[in-house]
């Protein structure tokens, strides 16, 4: 994989457009998945994912061959998500006030609530657990969320994460521990400590 990436990068640096399309095809889902959980699964996530690939394309010549393409893309994505979160924090403060005005005016707000009447119990449970997980991830501080997403969902190693977030290895370990502990606290109604660990299917 890494060798194929190196060849793709070399072709890109020689201005081969098809090679960059190959990189996009290979990494778009992973990068989008990460970005969507960092900023929330909305239209911004797709725009930001595109931004990641545009920045990678523009800075293709500054890519260091000793780093992996995977790590490099996640590093760009992390920086873009952090910038986005900083910008939207200010906007969020304004939108909260508008929402309150809506509620005070007594207007009925239309909400999309799925009809779960005919769904099997297991699917319902999985969906509920999935929603709870997304909420729990969203509530995590940004620094903890970055580490747990990169490790437990994207499958990156400790040292790769240390390189992406530019922190010592010990910081990665402690953040991962804290993130998992916080998630466990929020998912505790769905956990059973006395039973052996269960592996959920995707």
């Amino acid at each position: 994989m890494a060798n194929a990436d190196t060849i793709l990068i070399e072709r890109c640096q020689a201005n081969d457009a098809a090679a960059f399309n190959e990189i996009v095809a290979r990494y778009k889902s992973r990068v989008h998945n990460y970005v969507a959980r960092m900023v929330g699964p909305n239209s911004d996530a797709e725009d930001l994912t595109q931004e990641v690939f545009i920045r990678a394309y523009v800075n293709m010549h500054s890519f260091q061959s000793r780093a992996s393409l995977n790590t490099w893309l996640y590093r760009i994505a992390t920086n873009i998500c952090i910038d986005f979160a900083r910008k939207t924090k200010r906007v969020k403060a304004n939108t909260t006030t508008l929402m309150r005005e809506d509620e005070e005016s007594g207007e009925e707000i239309e909400r999309d609530i799925p009809d779960s009447k005919f769904e099997p119990q297991s699917v319902l449970m999985n969906r509920e657990l999935g929603d709870k997980l997304e909420q729990a991830l969203e509530l995590l501080p940004e620094k903890l969320r970055t580490v747990v997403l990169l490790h437990d969902i994207e499958g990156l190693a400790y040292d790769e994460i240390a390189h992406i977030i530019e922190c010592p290895l010990g910081t990665v370990k402690s953040r991962l521990f804290n993130a998992r502990a916080a998630l466990r606290e929020r998912l505790i109604p769905y956990l059973d400590g006395s039973s052996a660990p269960v592996r959920l299917s995707r």
Partner: protein, 178 residues
Amino acid sequence: MNCKQANGLISEYIDNQLSARDTWELDRHFGECNPCQNLLNEMRQTVNIVAAAPEFKLSDDFASKLSARLALVQPAPPRNAWLSNLREAFRPGLRPAWVAGLGTCAIVAIMLVPTLMPNRPVDPRQVTQTKKAIERVVQFENVSNAVSDPFGDTAAASMVTTNSAESAANATNPEPIW
């Protein structure tokens, strides 16, 4: 290993990142301690739930939209290799290593500098001056000894002898005080 130590290592234990010895000690602890075993199971389940989180789907026109945006930009020209190497060497992740390295160098320098100082050639004039200074000090000491030492003075010595003879006589014929 106690419960607090075990809990601190639980995350690395789940990821198989511990040394064989730590793993063995934790295995033993979890075998003996039910609360810690429960915590381990809950943490493992949490990790499994996170890992099983569903993927978000990209819209079908993602690639075409991206191609349209890419057509408007150009790759930046390559930067100087030495500049990027320098940036890489001083990236924040390597700061602890730099601090540790510089600290070690400072300690080594403090220890080695006095031993590595070259021996300066001795100036003969300085030697004679020092000799003269020592002689002056010795002379001064002799004089001061002579002044403070009554045994060096013959008159004083004779006085000491007379006094001691009188006191010996007094000792043999004690006179009544009254």
